[in-house]
Symmetry: C2
Subunit: 128 residues, 2 copies
DNA sequence: GCGTTAGATTGACGTTCGTTGAACTACTGA
DNA sequence: TCAGTAGTTCAACGAACGTCAATCTAACGC
C-alpha cells in the first residue's frame, strides 16, 4: 500500500511551477482529469504537458490511468495532506481562513502572464 | 501590515531545495537564527548561504534583522500557514499524523547526500 | 587611524529546467 | 490492413539555477 518514500523537497519542487500548480488545481476539482482537457486549457504544447505530468507523477502527486488511448490523471490527496502535516510541525496553529475569505480569494486578480492570460484558473496569490 | 502578495508557486519553489528546506527547519526550532549558525551547519560556502537566504526572503518566508555586523533570520510562520490553507482547499481533511508518528518520523533514516552527510537535520521523507 | 571580521554582491562556470519539432508507440475505426 | 488519433519519448536549444572565488561594505576592537 505504501509506496516509495519521496523527499518533501521533491514534492515542493513539483508544486513550484505555475503550470504544474495549475494542473494540480484543476485535478482537485475534477476527481479525474483527461489529458485532452489539459491540452485545451494549458498554453503549452503536448510534449510539455507530458513532461510536467511526468514530474508530478514522480513526485507522487498524481496517478495515471490509461483507458484505450486516453490518459486520465487523478490527484493523490494523501500526498498533499502528508506534506501539510510536515509543514504543520514547523508552523503549528489552527486554520486561518474563513469560508468567505476563501470565496473572495478564488476571485482574486490573476497574476499576469503567470501561466498565460487565457488560463481557466488564475494564479494563486498569498497574503498575510 | 500586509506585504506584497507572493505567488504560491514562488513559495513552493523556495521550499523545493534541500538546503533551503533545511534552513527553514532549523528556523522553525530556534525562533531566531544567527547567520553564523548556518555557516557552521550547512555544507556550502558563505555566498551560497547568502544566495539561499535571499530567495527565502523574496518568497516572504523569512525575515532578516541586522544587529551590529550580525544577521539574524526568523521564520514567518503565517506564510507557511497561508500556504497550508491554500493546499487545504485542494485536499481538505483532518490532520493525519499522530504525535508518536511524528516522533518516529523525525528519527527516520536520512536521505543520503541530500544536503550532506553531516547535516544536523535529516532530509524529510514523506510516506502515505 | 587601521587591521579584522560578518556577511552581501559580483562575475563566472557548469548543471538543471522548460520548451519545442520530429519521431515514435499504441489504440481506434473503417 | 491501413490511415488517423492520443500521447509519449527523443534531441536540441535557451533560460534559469546553484555554486564558488574574488571583491566589496559596514561594523568592531585597538
Amino acid at each position: 500500500m505504501t509506496r516509495e518514500p519521496v523527499a518533501a523537497t521533491e514534492v515542493f519542487k513539483a508544486l513550484g511551477d505555475p503550470i504544474r500548480w495549475n494542473i494540480v488545481q484543476q485535478m482537485a476539482q475534477q476527481e479525474e482529469l483527461a489529458c485532452s482537457v489539459l491540452e485545451d486549457t494549458l498554453p503549452v504544447s503536448k510534449p510539455t504537458i507530458s513532461y510536467h505530468t511526468k514530474i508530478l507523477t514522480q513526485a507522487g502527486l498524481i496517478e495515471v490511468r490509461k483507458r484505450g488511448r486516453n490518459y486520465f490523471y487523478s490527484l493523490r490527496r494523501e500526498v498533499l495532506r502528508s506534506l501539510m502535516d510536515e509543514m504543520w510541525t514547523l508552523a503549528p496553529g489552527p486554520r486561518l481562513v474563513s469560508s468567505q475569505e476563501q470565496e473572495s480569494r478564488s476571485e482574486a486578480p490573476a497574476l499576469k502572464a503567470a501561466v498565460g492570460d487565457d488560463t481557466p484558473r488564475s494564479a494563486t496569490l498569498l497574503t498575510w
